[in-house]
């Protein structure tokens, strides 16, 4: 029986490796066929609407609440050290460096990522992708690539909006509600948040997350078994896999970027 389990483990590892290879090849194909996505930018714009604009509500509302909670929790903790005026710094740095890119990415993965997977999976199940191929139109160029670039473009914008809303939320709670000095709030923030180190790094992170999430979503959709269970399983896998990928990439990028501060 032990032999059987080891065999199973071996098979699944091999299959996992094979899948990664296949997924990488798919990713390269998307990049190679991206010409149409840019030449006929209308296709990409349409997808930016579906991925980005339709995610706005959840991103803005979540950003606001996260910022407000940061304001509350931050104030509680800072007060014990007598450093209430550092609230602005706390809220801004937490959001811009980490929470903005990461939480926005996780929300994007669940909302837009799963929608992309379901859409493509369904198109595959109803033979729309085959029909397109038979009409001599490459589905990767026309259907997959525009969605990829739409995701990559939308993600940093959404992360920035999340962070901005969060800072506003922190301001609302800290300054308006609790009474931290408004001038101190903003001036302390300005002096500690560095454009290159913090903001640009946050933007880079969100672009990387966008690439990862959209690529995973597209792959799972394109590869889904053409049945109802197949598509629903693929959507679940997209959310789980891209969320894990975002968190893992976050660690790698943070270690890489913020190592130099010491």
């Amino acid at each position: 029986m032990l032999k059987q389990s080891i065999e199973n483990l071996g098979n699944r590892t091999l299959e996992g490796v094979w899948r990664i290879g296949y997924a990488t090849r798919f990713f390269v194909l998307i990049l190679l066929h991206s010409g149409t996505a840019f030449r006929r930018f209308g296709l990409t714009i349409r997808e930016i609407y579906f991925s980005g604009v339709l995610s706005l509500i959840i991103i803005l509302v979540s950003g606001l609440f996260v910022g407000m909670v940061l304001g509350l929790q931050g104030y509680e903790t800072l007060q014990t050290f007598g450093s209430e005026e550092a609230l602005g710094i706390l809220v801004a740095l937490s959001l811009v460096r980490e929470l903005g890119p990461v939480v926005a990415a996780l929300l994007f993965a669940s909302r837009a990522g799963s929608a992309i997977t379901a859409e493509i999976g369904l198109m595959k199940a109803t033979e729309q992708l085959s029909a397109m191929e038979m009409m001599a139109v490459d589905p990767i160029a026309r259907v997959v690539a525009p969605r990829f670039w739409a995701g990559v473009i939308s993600m940093p914008l959404l992360a920035a909006l999340f962070s901005a809303m969060g800072i506003f939320g922190g301001y609302l709670v800290g300054v308006q509600l609790i009474g931290v000095d408004e001038g101190l709030f903003w001036s302390q923030m300005r002096s500690s948040v560095d454009f290159e180190q913090d903001i640009m790094n946050g933007v880079i992170k969100s672009v990387v997350f966008g690439i990862a999430i959209t690529a995973i979503a597209l792959y799972e959709g394109y590869d889904a078994p053409p049945t109802a269970e197949g598509v629903s399983g693929a959507t679940t896998r997209t959310v789980v896999a891209s969320s894990l990928a975002v968190l893992a990439l976050d660690f790698v990028l943070t270690a890489f970027m913020f190592r130099g501060l010491n």
Partner: protein, 155 residues
Amino acid sequence: MNKTVLDLWVGLFVIAGIAALLFLALKVGSMNTVNTTDSYEVVARFENIGGLKARAPVRSAGVVVGRVTDVRFDNETYEAAVTIRLDKRYAFPKDTTAAIMTSGLLGEQYIGLEAGGDSQKLKDKDRIIITQDAVVLENLIGQFLYGKAQEGAPQ
């Protein structure tokens, strides 16, 4: 969905996103790098820099006049060599003192410049001769205890 309405929404979305980025860049953060063309570099040597890091501010009379760009260990003199980049608008005399200070009681460390009286000014690649090391807490406590012991001791 009508194509023009769609385009409108996407346009608004992109504008809002860029506005958020600009807000973050300008109102929240600040460009902290001192431009290389309107600045000059000087070096200062310390026996102990405490917790001073690169990108720490350099202040004089409380105003930021430059940034620490590099912190190195000199293996020959066994001292720390700190490179400072100063804004060209501010010229300091050659006998300026550079001291490592702490922001508040437990805050970040920065370099405080106190101008001397020399008529000659520091130029690019010059060295600040007079330096004051960081206050190391252990030494302070040691001094305090020693002092206390002294007080109690003479019999």
